[in-house]
Amino acid sequence: MSATTWSGQVPAALEEVDLRVDLAGMRLKNPVMTASGCAAAGRELDSFFDVTDIGAVVTKSVMLDPRSGNPTPRMAETPSGMLNSIGLQGPGIDSFLATDLPWLVSRKARAVVSIAGSSLGEYAELARRVGNSPGVSAVEVNISCPNVHNRGLVFACDPYQAAKVMAAVRRDVPRDVPVFAKLSADVTDLVTVAESVMAAGATGLAMINTLLGLSIDPVTLRPVLGGVTGGLSGPAIRPVALRCVWQVHQAMPDVPIIGIGGIRTGLDALEFMLAGASAVQVGTIIFHDPSAPIRIVTELRAELAARGFTSPSQVVGLAHTPTADSLAATDLEGLRSP
């Protein structure tokens, strides 16, 4: 058992660490993926690292029709984070399936396709189109984008609406393709939303999406973003994202979780896995460091090895076990960063 390995405290050799993971039936080279909207469809990042060397590429949420997105400015830098209001600009599903997906498939990259709809019907239609396309490893359902110019509650904020989306999508995606619901932290009771989408047929959860935020321009004295409010991402939100993963894993220890939010280093990725994530996604930090995903793979391997772990599966949820607690921290001083 992992806790034993850990308390043994014999660092493993880097080669001993086998980073492969089984995520809800998906076999991945390693648990590090790109986050939706932060890697387009993988192609641009391929000049910084080999996109087949990471766990998966999660593509920018695609909608049924082409979409122009919001007016600019679409970004504002904030302390250790940024706001964005892209407004889901994209080519629409036809162009995506004709161009973007085939490129990923031809590169033999793992493709997780993120879909976003503005009605149940759209989600169902997208699920059908994507689910039946060869080369799709999994579907991620973006029910939580706060940027879209739809002043109603977003699906993710209502357990009932969220479940209806998931049920509609699940119905139209082949059984062997996992479906992940991507949750928003901007809710009073995340666990209820999580339970409700799982009950509706989700294979697992991806969390979190951006937090709703705002920034004001000191010159115009108006909101910076063309879309007024925007989504906050980056290291600033990491503690909130970790808390969400912790809470949901605590409530539903068997549900596969993909941890997302401000991951910058392999140590950050490890923290998410300890809190209960089986895999992670790297988002905003790609803008700071376009080779971050592959760097994080390397760093995660080193962090695991230093602690005597040989597989990511050994650490998933470990922070919830009191066993780890009983270790005398003094023996481990060497592990303190840097």
Partner: protein
């Protein structure tokens, strides 16, 4: 797959940082950039140091590259201090290290024939023009420069321009040096005198719009390097878009980091920048905001 033509990411040592009027001239040791570089491309620098709260890279036109020499390859930029990131850059000292990604973006398109060209720049917008004029001269083109700024200290490269061009006109808005006025006040005369077939421009959005207009009136092509706020600089985030008319006549919100920063002046919907004009691919009916 990493291609040899693509951008490089590296931790570059500061070779020198000097003041030039209101600007700073930064030289970084960045081997490999020169070999890939074409004029009009830019570099994206991480700012704030290892514990920085500033997450996003800052983009700067590449002023000059050298492919070897005493210090290995170098890349040079000219920048103005306008905020936290540039303030941090202005405090660098030799041997400090900056993470840089370069070269990025589409360069200026070069004419196939040895035509006459007008290079028009505002403020630090002249930075990319010298590398450009070098390539144009190599191809036998005639180069005519028009450099403008609000005031003398914000004019960059006026001396260097004399070595790089057949003719140079300088304008300042306060008349502190050269002709009092804006580049577009003198551009029509320049185009007529030189018969330039192509106008290259870099500077503030308003200037680019006006230059593109003048070029069009005079039947010249224009190539404009825009400056839109960029989160990633490499094409993955969609923050840096502006409305551009495609070959098919359709307006699209196009990424200025990878499909620009250089655009054909007649393709950009200058007066609609900051909006999503009606009829843009995927726009809500009526455009956005209304």
């Amino acid at each position: 797959m990493t291609t040899s033509a693509g951008p490089l990411q590296q931790r570059a040592e500061v070779l020198s940082l000097k003041r030039v009027g209101a600007y700073h001239h930064l030289t970084l040791v960045a081997p490999g950039v020169a070999e890939r570089f074409r004029p009009g491309q830019f570099a994206a620098l991480a700012v704030g140091g290892p514990e920085s709260a500033l997450l996003l890279r800052r983009s700067f036109s590449i002023y000059r590259v050298r492919d070897s020499g005493t210090y290995g390859g170098t890349v040079e930029i000219i920048f103005a201090v306008t905020g936290k990131g540039t303030a941090w850059l202005a405090d660098l000292v030799p041997h400090d290290v900056v993470d840089v990604v370069a070269p990025l973006g589409r360069p200026f398109a070069l004419p196939k024939e040895a035509v006459s060209c007008a290079l028009v720049a505002g403020g630090y917008g002249s930075a990319p023009m010298f590398a450009l004029s070098g390539r144009l001269l190599d191809r036998g083109c005639a180069v005519h420069m028009v450099l403008g700024a609000s005031t003398e200290s914000r004019l960059f490269g006026a001396l260097e321009a004399r070595r790089s061009a057949q003719s140079v006109i300088v304008t300042t808005e306060d008349g502190s040096v050269g002709i009092k006025g804006r580049v577009t006040d003198v551009l029509p005369e320049v185009l007529e005198r030189t018969g330039s077939a192509v106008v290259y421009a870099c500077g503030p959005m308003g200037m680019l719009a006006a230059v593109a207009q003048v070029a069009e009136t005079h039947g010249a092509w224009s190539q404009c390097a825009v400056e839109e706020a960029m989160a990633c600089g490499v094409g993955v985030c969609m923050t840096c878009v502006l409305p551009v008319i495609g070959e098919d006549g359709r307006t699209r919100m196009v990424r200025s980091c990878v499909e620009g920063p250089v655009f054909r002046g007649d393709r950009v919907r200058w007066s609609d920048v900051g909006t999503v004009p009606e009829g843009t691919l995927g726009a809500p009916s009526g455009g956005w905001p209304q």
